[in-house]
Symmetry: C2
Subunit: 422 residues, 2 copies
């Protein structure tokens, strides 16, 4: 133990400490989301956040790889990246076992992702994300299922259709329009990135930047829909939106400015927006990426999915005051009139725990009154003093702390009572 000067108690910049109440809230959120996803027949997978750096090169967006990843060289001279997103890992894992896995795969993962960004509202260096993917189905039915699942998550959290909209476009529609506008692949990528930033730019600046790339703005080509190839792609996308409407998802609409940041998307892309007029921000999004898996060899595997970050989702829940109750506190606080009662109290607690009760035992020498206050502060609903009298008479009094009510019962009835609390 060194006698060096005091260390700071701050977490590493851009990361969060999750004290029990914070962690319980996040876990409750994930647990609800997990239940929704599993009802759709999806299974959870995971991997290490440490990934070989090469799987992100040329696949994730250039901006993210060049300046927004945590990449370092390990002592064995391997380039390692802390995963900024899950999709390349998914592609790697699926590719490794593509002969054994039963397609279609319905997979999801919940965990932390890392980006080296300047911390700001809704953006942290470590955030949690739910990633949901459906692999092996090229048809529109897969796009519909993924969008349905995404909206069901929000609805199961208590949101209504008025709380969010789904804006949908298509990368293949955009690519076709770029091609019709005469853009080479490199310029088409530059245009896509420009379009991704459109909402944050002055329209004049956007027009000026477009002019540098092409005379004819691909976005206008999409709006007009006069070119036959563009019109065909547009019709397909509108059919998807129409089908969603017919199946009860009435808050989806076509928005050709939606591109999503990553380069690997090949088809439908969508973003879900909060409708709160004070803050109409993107909550999350996803899309179709039919070629990503070929990076690891073999034939393409059609794939569609989305990723939903905890920070924006938590903001959404708070803004719309959606209920999120956690229920993980101890049920019963056993107080000890005297330190000599602790062994007996622990033994009694053991019998309750053996039957599933969540029991907190006082180990301090505080007076009973202070122990009751302590139980209230910890939000434990029931209190029971366990002293000589209780042992002798085999009768305890449970104090309901919310009301002050006291319930007398035989010691062996307490466990049954706790079970009624859930």
């Amino acid at each position: 133990m060194s006698d060096s000067k005091k260390l700071s108690t701050e977490p590493y910049k851009g990361t969060r400490d999750f004290y029990p109440d914070d962690w319980a809230r996040l876990n409750t959120l994930f647990s609800k989301i997990r239940q929704t996803i599993m009802r759709f027949g999806y299974e959870e997978y995971n991997a290490s956040p440490l990934e070989r750096a090469e799987i992100y090169e040329n696949k994730t967006s250039e901006e993210i790889v060049s300046s927004q990843t945590y990449t370092f060289t390990d002592r064995g001279d391997r380039k390692v990246t802390l995963r900024p997103e899950m999709t390349p890992t998914l592609a790697r894992m699926v590719s490794a076992k593509r002969r054994e896995l039963p397609f279609p795969l319905r997979w999801f993962s919940i965990g932390n992702r890392f980006r080296y960004e300047r911390p700001q509202r809704g953006r942290l260096r470590e955030f949690y994300q739910v990633d949901v993917d459906l692999l092996g189905v090229a048809s529109m039915e897969a796009d519909i299922e993924i969008i349905t699942l995404a909206t069901t998550i929000l609805k199961d959290l208590g949101a209504s259709e008025n709380d969010f909209t789904i804006r949908i476009s298509s990368r293949s529609l955009l690519n076709t329009a770029c091609s019709v506008a005469g853009l080479a692949e490199k310029d088409a990528r530059a245009y896509t990135r420009l379009l991704d930033r459109k909402a944050k730019m002055h329209s004049e600046d956007f027009a000026k930047e477009v002019k540098k790339l092409t005379e004819k703005d691909p976005l206008s080509l999409i709006m007009e829909g006069t070119d036959a190839d563009v019109a065909r792609e547009k019709r397909e996308l509108l059919k998807l939106i129409e089908t969603l409407g017919a199946r009860g998802i009435i808050n989806a609409r076509f928005d050709p400015s939606i591109t999503r940041g990553f380069d690997y998307y090949t088809g439908m892309v969508f973003e879900v927006y909060d409708t709160n007029p004070a803050n109409t921000r993107s909550l999350f999004g996803g899309g179709r990426y039919d070629k990503l898996i070929t990076l690891f060899g073999g034939d393409p595997i059609p794939a569609v999915g989305f990723g939903m970050g905890d920070v924006t989702l938590t903001d959404f829940i708070e803004t719309h005051q959606l209920p999120l109750t956690t229920d993980i506190k101890p049920q019963l606080y056993i107080g000890t009139p005297d330190a000599t009662n602790i062994p007996g109290a622990e033994a009694f607690a053991e019998t309750l725990r053996a039957q599933g009760g969540r029991v907190f035992v006082n180990l301090t020498e505080k007076p009973l009154g202070d122990q009751i206050k302590d139980a209230v502060r910890r939000e434990i609903p029931l209190f029971l003093a366990y002293g000589e009298n209780e042992v002798r008479e085999d009768l305890v009094r449970l104090k309901v702390l919310a009301t002050g009510e006291e319930i007398g019962m035989a010691s062996n009835a307490v466990s049954t009572y706790l079970k009624t609390l859930g």
Copy 2:
């Protein structure tokens, strides 16, 4: 999308990919352990695996910090370490809110830890660990609770007392013996590390190394117990073991060679060993560390806890063939005789999901027979074909795949049937 050569599908060296069955097993394990811990009134916390490097310097064992951590410098010139263990993070978090938190704290955390080691059996570069700590209680009752909790976890997993032993010693006993043997603090630390390696050394080599430090082996001083200070410390420890026995923990014994690797322990230390004669290895351990929190300023906070890694624990479960059943598969596979039935099947699935059913819908054009085989392969217990007849007659046949039995029922009865499966 680049046309570069194929990428390897291997995970980063020393880490694991968790395919759905693997992840389900690990999650089931953690979920059982979490339930046990929560019955003792403990609450879960978490933090980012990215930590400021300084919190490990001089606190964790020298060996781990100097050569076994992932430490790098970020773009802002900050030294960052991927946490090799949780205790320094716990100390940091508790210290940050020491005025607000209600002591004693009963806290636990489950998550990944990182060590830069040569991968070998039971040792990976990323592993998962359950950390349980009780802070604010200096008395033996806290040591007893922590050891009781640790053994209850193993028992709840199905182990019996014959499957493991708890070997207990004390750092303060060892320090006292070192001091009586005339060892300065630096040499006492060297001796402690030597003792930690004793089991892996020839006894002659051990004796030779001890000779370099001191004429009188502190271990012999402990065995003899003739020195008054040593005898007093030893008596206290034997009382702890006796009390554990009186409370039903009969597989604990005194073993003065137990030291634990970390420098921060100050009192009781313990390790739990597998009794399997083929593999009597340490499963996990912990101890008392009453001074760690002073590194962040303020008065000491007495603390005792343990950490339990997933790799050794999984080995233990497999060796002793303890049952660990996972139950997260979809309940029902809805087959579609024809692609035109998919929208109807999805709509029917939606009604079942809205009532909590976990339902997988076929989106392929495989023949029904192949869909049934697919359901079997995915270990989904029930199959239902949803075609024109079913819609017209509002009657479905549920096929129980394990037996081949078919159960006819009205469509709106399926949901109730799924609920009986759990």
